[in-house]
Amino acid sequence: MAGALRLAALRLPQIALTLLLLSLAAWFAIGLMPGDPVSLALVSDPRLTAEDAARLRALHGLDQPLLTRYLAWGAGVLRGEFGYSRLFAQPVGAVLWPALRATLALVGAAVALAALLGVALGGLAARRPRAAPLVQAAALLGQAVPSFWLGILLVILFAVTLGWLPAGGLPEPGQSALPFLVLPVATIAFGHMAAYARHAATALRAELARPHITAARARGNGEGRILWRHALPNAAVPLLTLLALDAGALVSGALVTETLFARPGMGKLLYDAVMGNDYNLALLALLLVALVTMLATLAADLAQAWIDPRIGEGR
């Protein structure tokens, strides 16, 4: 427990610093994007004159240097003032939270499915050496298939050809949400499942060769019990490392998948905000996504330290 606390105390300041640097870098990158809000207003209303534009810029502080604007914006965010989203004409907070919930549900379901199936496949490969090359080939395939292509293929097969599942979007009120989740979850889960299967097979095989397994076998334990009760807990540590490293990739996968299936969520929100020149929303969405990713990584590391107390001690 002490190790876990020390780990958290070490990592939280790192996370804060990373967010600070990211916000600064993104702020200047956004300064290089086409069109500030006033020039967009000019395009949509031809009656505005150059003087109007200058006055609007001064009113909103857009004539100030980038750094001054950053400091003002940062102070506002720290006070909890996230500002408005121009694209959705709502406070940013009201847009962000439902999107975050939707993405967490999508990614959570995908990770759970990928981990369950991956570990089951890995166990199969470890128990039956003949199945191992198959699992390996499937893992290679799963990691090489671009997830957005897989999503398109799934739509073609299940939505266009067979018509079993919706091609995207959200359920109407009263409809079941489950069919709308199946294809997006499968799209995200497939690649990760392949990775988990490969690593679970390696870890379980190494574990099954150790003396405590022989001892358990000598005591008359069944093979299934040996695999799941005696080998898996030890093999779970490298799998949790993989899970911790995966948080960023999962969020990236959610961006593509949500865009592809037109599902509202953090990824689609960020993409829409970038495409719609809604920079305040884009920046805050990016920071929130980064924060959640790093916290998820930390959580996986903490779980590792809890399973294997040696890990927290060394750092």
């Binding site: 990373t18 671009p146 292509w149 990236s252 990584t297």
Partner: protein, 276 residues
């Protein structure tokens, strides 16, 4: 060895298709850019080996030209990232101390962040504000390569640093120092050659990563802009036409799959070769 060969074979075939694209066009008697509205969504077979897209352009031909863009971006980004990463990893291992700490915390920070959301933000930047021309295929390619290198060096740098640290602790390095070899020559002649295998593995993997990232960005409309074909923007077009021509979505994805699997096989093969 078989993995290495299979991977090289896959990549070689794709590279051959990329190089032979103009001759392929001559053999088919058309080019990859001119629309032919009478041939929209032509089915595979006959005049069009793999069918035609929404503007009646030959899909096989566009795949071959797309290979030039996709493989080119992947190779250029991976080579640049490997050079930068090797340099940074070597510097961190050699200097140690605060240089090492700063560089590796930077790497950790980049690795902990979700890459694609940041890439999307960066790809939407306006190159014109940096004084670069907008909308030309070559600037598009350079822009994407630069963005991918920003993240790509991290993996190479970590591997290069770990390998360089273990090499720098060896006795022959102490012997070379005792003989009065200069530090620059020490790194160049005695450390760098030992990094070849880990950097080659990391480079092969980052080619795969770069090809995937480019295809995702182009798919989202932020990468290579039409009319220049890339596997990613071909998929974006095909996705809009899944009802009219579902097969058009299959080929570009297969090409990406082959390229990425080829790179992974090469990386795996090189790693096994070294461990033997």
């Amino acid at each position: 060895m078989t993995r290495l060969r299979l991977g090289l074979l896959l990549l070689g075939l794709l590279a051959l298709a990329a190089l032979a694209a103009p001759w392929l066009g001559a053999a088919l008697g058309r080019d990859a850019f001119t629309p032919d509205l009478f041939a929209r969504y032509a089915p595979p077979g006959g005049d069009f080996p793999l069918g035609a897209d929404e503007l009646g352009r030959d899909l096989l031909l566009r795949l071959a030209y797309g290979a030039r863009v996709s493989l080119g971006v992947g190779l250029a980004a991976a080579l640049a990232a490997s050079l930068l990463g090797t340099g940074i990893g070597l510097l961190a291992a050699w200097r140690g101390g605060w240089v090492d700490a700063v560089l590796m915390r930077l790497a950790d920070g980049l690795l902990a962040l979700p890459a694609l959301p940041i890439l999307v933000l960066l790809a939407a930047m306006d190159p014109a504000k940096l004084g670069l021309p907008r909308g030309e295929a070559l600037t598009d390619i350079l822009r994407i390569v630069a963005i991918l290198v920003l993240f790509g060096w991290v993996g190479v740098a970590r591997l290069a640093r770990a390998a360089a640290l273990s090499l720098l602790a060896q006795d022959y390095i102490r012997a070379a120092r005792a003989l009065g070899v200069s530090e620059a020559r020490l790194l160049w002649r005695h450390v760098l050659p030992g990094l070849r295998a880990p950097v080659a593995v990391a480079c092969a993997l980052s080619v795969a990563g770069a090809i995937l990232a480019e295809s995702v960005l182009s798919f989202l409309g932020l990468g290579i802009q039409p009319p220049a074909p890339s596997w990613g923007n071909m998929l974006a077009n095909a996705q809009e036409a899944v009802f009219a021509a579902p097969l058009a979505a299959v080929w570009p994805g297969l090409a990406i799959l082959a390229a990425v699997a080829g790179c992974a096989l090469v990386a795996d093969g090189v790693a096994r070769e070294r461990d033997r």
